[in-house]
Assembly symmetry: C2
Homo-oligomer: 309 residues x 2
């Protein structure tokens, strides 16, 4: 078998980057020629993580078929979230913790999904099952993935398995999870130097829901006013995105990592469906989503349900 | 969590039935209320297996949403191969060894697929990972699944992992794999008492391939003439199936389990695509597929490729 690329989703977050690096490390220990790459720019949080552990930033790619015949996916499966030419390569393996949709293969493959909070939690099991060695650095990256995806264990997506894995990884990495975790999350909340276009795409995921084309972006902050004070600018960027991609709905969730609530800025012709999904009334396109911090568990399923009607 | 049903694909084979029984047993050991059911009639081979180990035939169901809100799938994922109302229930978990296609969930789930020869080989791992106990009977059923899916280890779908699992299961079940295996396979080749309609549906799977609707049936024999001497009768049944379901292609593979070759009877308006896929010329709708015994590995991928053009 020739070289294989492994990568997480577009608009990569810490789990998309670190799980790709960890999975590549695991496969290399098993004798394979694997390179972790990324499909987009790093966010501030992930920059902090790679810098903290002294790990090189994976190479940026847009397409993969020009390099390899086959790939491994981590932290995603949906076509729209993957490499632009994903349909031109064979997907040999997927490790993921999201719903399965708009994903199809010609041949059997290795697919490992579990309804846990973070891909790294599953990769931690794969290391054990393979009898592979977790270095201090890789353990630190995987711990960072779990902290990021579970917002330091406060997200409803966080499971006992994530907490258990984090404890194991904390011991190996020698990192203090609470101190390091808050520093790391805060590094991702500095949005003052980001343009409105960057803010709505940095952690944005596209979805096909029934007949509708939807994009859902999320920004973590320690004060929602940091984002909402720039509402006019954000709306302009979102309207341009809706027009360019002919979207039916765009949701920007501004999530306060300290209070665990989100303010949602919602635009597009399917906005009424979002109102009924979240049982809120938009005021100047904005609504408070109490206790909502997880796109995967608290936003995607209710929107999918509502838009399917 | 309330009761959950677990089942394999329609037109069930030995793996679809026995893996459902084994997975239900595993989940029961973990304290869950799970019942294994089936979506169709048993074939002669599976009847032999259940009878040999004194295991009751799982209950037949057509729909599931009238009974439970959520299900576990084994040995399949494609919508067309599942319960008629599969879209009305939540799929909590899939254990499978086929391609992934026409499968979509709203929420994250447990999905365990590996490119091995048999679902039971993966379930054997799940027992170990859960620290559960494999009884003599369940081990015998799982061994039967592997024998059936790999045609006693002769199919190209058979992997080292299947052979390893079979050895472990042979030791636990106390069955002699060669003697029992051949008896079991032969029990599935007695087609004299089956009508043409039964022969084309007993182990038939529907597929959506590009724009085409395809059904692929397989019959195991020890002499291909047992089936081909009834070609006129089989063709009539297939033409009726094509008309009723508006199919583009129907492939009946008559597989000789002793020589490991198949005779394919191919009808439908996309028959030319099948000829080019298999690089054969049909003679009176029939062509020999040398060394072809596996629908999954040797028929589905080449047809999918050919029909996508």
């Amino acid at each position: 078998m020739g070289k294989v690329l492994v990568f997480g989703h577009k608009s990569p977050d810490t789990d998309a980057i670190c799980s790709a690096i960890a999975f590549a490390d695991l496969k290399k220990q098993l004798g394979e020629d694997v390179e972790a790459v990324r499909l987009g720019d790093l966010n501030g949080e992930t920059e902090y993580v790679l810098n903290h552990f002294g790990v090189a930033v994976p190479r940026l790619v847009k397409t993969v078929a020009n390099e390899v015949p086959a790939v491994y996916l981590v932290d995603h499966n949906e076509r729209a979230q993957s490499a632009d030419d994903i349909e031109d390569v064979e997907v040999l393996s997927v490790v993921d913790h999201h719903r399965i949709a708009n994903f199809e293969t010609k041949a059997p493959l290795f697919y490992r999904a579990e309804p846990v909070g973070c891909t790294a939690t599953i990769i931690n099991k794969l290391y054990k099952e393979a009898g592979a060695t977790l270095s201090k650095t890789i353990a630190g990256l995987m711990l960072s993935s779990i902290i990021s995806d579970t917002l330091l264990f406060k997200s409803p997506t966080c499971t006992d398995e994530d907490v258990k894995a984090a404890k194991e990884l904390e011991a190996i990495s020698g990192v203090d999870v609470q101190t390091y975790g808050l520093d790391m999350l805060k590094a991702g909340t500095n949005i003052a130097d980001k343009s409105a276009e960057e803010l709505i795409t940095l952690d944005m995921k596209p979805f096909e829901m029934g007949k509708y084309t939807v994009e859902i972006a999320q920004v973590n902050v320690v004060d929602t006013n940091d984002a909402l004070s720039r509402q006019a600018e954000l709306e302009a960027a979102i309207r341009k995105e809706i027009e360019t991609k002919n979207l039916d709905l765009f949701v920007l969730a501004v999530t306060n990592i300290l209070t665990s609530d989100s303010e949602a800025l919602i635009l597009g012709k399917a906005a009424a469906a979002a109102e009924s999904a979240f049982k809120v009334t938009l005021d100047n396109h904005v609504a408070t989503l109490k206790g909502v911090v997880s796109r995967k568990k608290q936003i995607v399923p209710v929107l999918t349900e509502s838009l399917a009607d």
